[in-house]
């Protein structure tokens, strides 16, 4: 119960649609049963690639900052924005560097590749093994619940508005069955030349 992965709670999910991707997270930050904050987003933008981080909150903050630093250096050196595939490899190698003293996070990436125009999502374990998925990636204390709702609601080639509805329902219903996640949610719908960010009204218990 006092696993570093489930002290603070939180959930994140990414999904692929037709020429679009979506990523969503809850807003809770807790200390075991005590809810400390209801405004702790777990999705971080790096250009137009998005990284979701669940797990130990201190590591979520550290890893997101570390990657912001690395992505900024990449952009300065290469004079171009980072692609989701490159960010995935950067996250993977950064996590594996800490193979025997890992960050207690489960990252998720969502974005659209600039050159190919293809949607891309992937997930990681805490030491950087990449899980490439064609459909969806889940992480956090509600991951079991998210597997169930995503597997039940997701279908191929969803248009942006349908993808928004699908990912929102998958996340809201999953976190409502997890004591440590919820208290509102953020959803990003990423299209080729447009990103829409929405706040979801969720149960506050």
């Amino acid at each position: 119960m006092s696993s570093p992965f489930s002290i603070n709670g939180g959930a994140c999910v990414a999904m692929v649609g037709k020429d679009c991707v979506a990523i969503a997270c809850d807003l809770r930050l807790g200390l075991q049963s005590l809810t400390v904050s209801n405004n702790f987003p777990k999705i971080f933008p790096y250009g137009d690639v998005y990284l979701g981080l669940t797990g130990l909150a201190t590591d979520v903050a550290t890893v997101s900052d570390l990657l912001r630093y690395k992505v900024n250096l990449y952009r300065l050196r290469e004079e171009r924005a980072i692609s989701p595939q490159t960010l995935a490899n950067l996250v993977s190698s950064s996590l594996y560097e800490r193979r025997f003293g890992p960050f207690f996070v489960s990252p998720v990436i969502a974005g659209i590749n600039h050159t190919t125009g293809k949607p891309f999502i992937c997930g990681f374990d805490s030491i950087g093994c990449i899980d490439f998925a064609k459909d969806f990636i889940v992480s956090g204390t509600a991951s079991d619940q998210l597997f169930g709702t995503c597997e039940g609601l997701w279908e191929p080639d969803l248009a942006p508005e349908d993808l928004f509805e699908t990912i929102s329902q998958a996340l809201l219903n999953a976190v409502d069955r997890d004591a440590l996640s919820g208290w509102g949610a953020h959803v990003y719908i990423i299209e080729k030349d447009k990103v829409t960010k929405r706040l979801l009204k969720g149960r506050q218990d």
Partner: protein, 236 residues
């Protein structure tokens, strides 16, 4: 030595299979009035029970008994208010959002339950005592009092209740205070939530005041009264 003798002097398999009594019990359709409990055939049944069902002492226990709760009851001039949440959790899993934690014992007696080590409350009216409220727990503690909150969310409920409580509350204000205290607990305590179950015990028996979802109540409280300003309802 005594424990050794005790351990080896009883029939080893006395509890195995169906005894004659157990077979008779199957034929009778009604359970006996005094419950007979099956015990594991080992020297320390309590240790076995702890290892299999108590997730405090053994987080990997195979049988997770649901608990986590907020219940409250207080005495005031109009009788007693009893209020509970309705969530049951097994670890971090929310097993149910619709548990009835108030037990209607008869038309003028109510009990509340909280799982695990937490206690229960008994509220009722009798001609001898008038409105009476007791806190009871599994150790045998029995306390009479005016105001109790029990369970994992008790501290949050006490916070609201202690600030606003007065014995001279009107009926409507007392009901609202019970509801608001549970709402506060469901908001901050991860193991409390679901529905608010409200009862009012009066001179001539109790009256139920609904089993209502916290979600619309929460947003109404926030938007109409400006409370819970910590919760964001607009993006950035």
């Amino acid at each position: 030595m005594d424990t050794l003798v005790a351990q080896y002097s009883r029939p080893l398999f006395e509890n195995e299979g169906s005894s004659q009594e157990e077979q008779l019990e199957l034929i009778q359709t009604l359970p006996p009035l005094s419950l007979k409990f099956a015990l594991p055939p080992i020297a320390q049944p309590s240790a076995f029970l702890r290892a299999t069902t108590d997730d405090h002492s053994n987080p990997d226990c195979p049988i997770k008994i649901a608990h986590g709760t907020t219940t409250l009851a207080f005495r005031f001039k109009g009788g007693i208010i009893v209020a509970t949440d309705s969530r049951a959790t097994a670890g971090n899993w929310i097993a149910s959002q619709t548990v009835k934690k108030v037990i209607e014992i008869n038309n003028c007696l109510l009990g509340t339950m909280a799982g695990g080590a937490a206690g229960t409350m008994c509220a009722g009216v009798t001609p001898q005592e008038g409105p009476a409220l007791y806190y009871i727990d599994s150790d045998g503690t029995r306390l009479a009092g005016n105001l109790f909150c029990v369970g994992s969310g008790q501290t949050f409920a006490y916070g609201v209740l202690d600030a606003e409580y007065s014995y001279d509350l009107e009926d409507e204000a007392a009901l609202e205070l019970g509801r608001r205290s549970i709402l506060a607990a469901t908001h901050r305590d991860a193991y409390s939530g679901g529905f608010i179950n409200l009862y009012h015990v009066k001179e001539d028996g109790w009256v139920k005041h609904g089993f209502s979802d916290t979600n619309p109540i929460f947003w109404k409280t926030k938007l109409d009264k400006g409370e819970f300003s910590n919760v964001t309802s607009e993006l950035d």
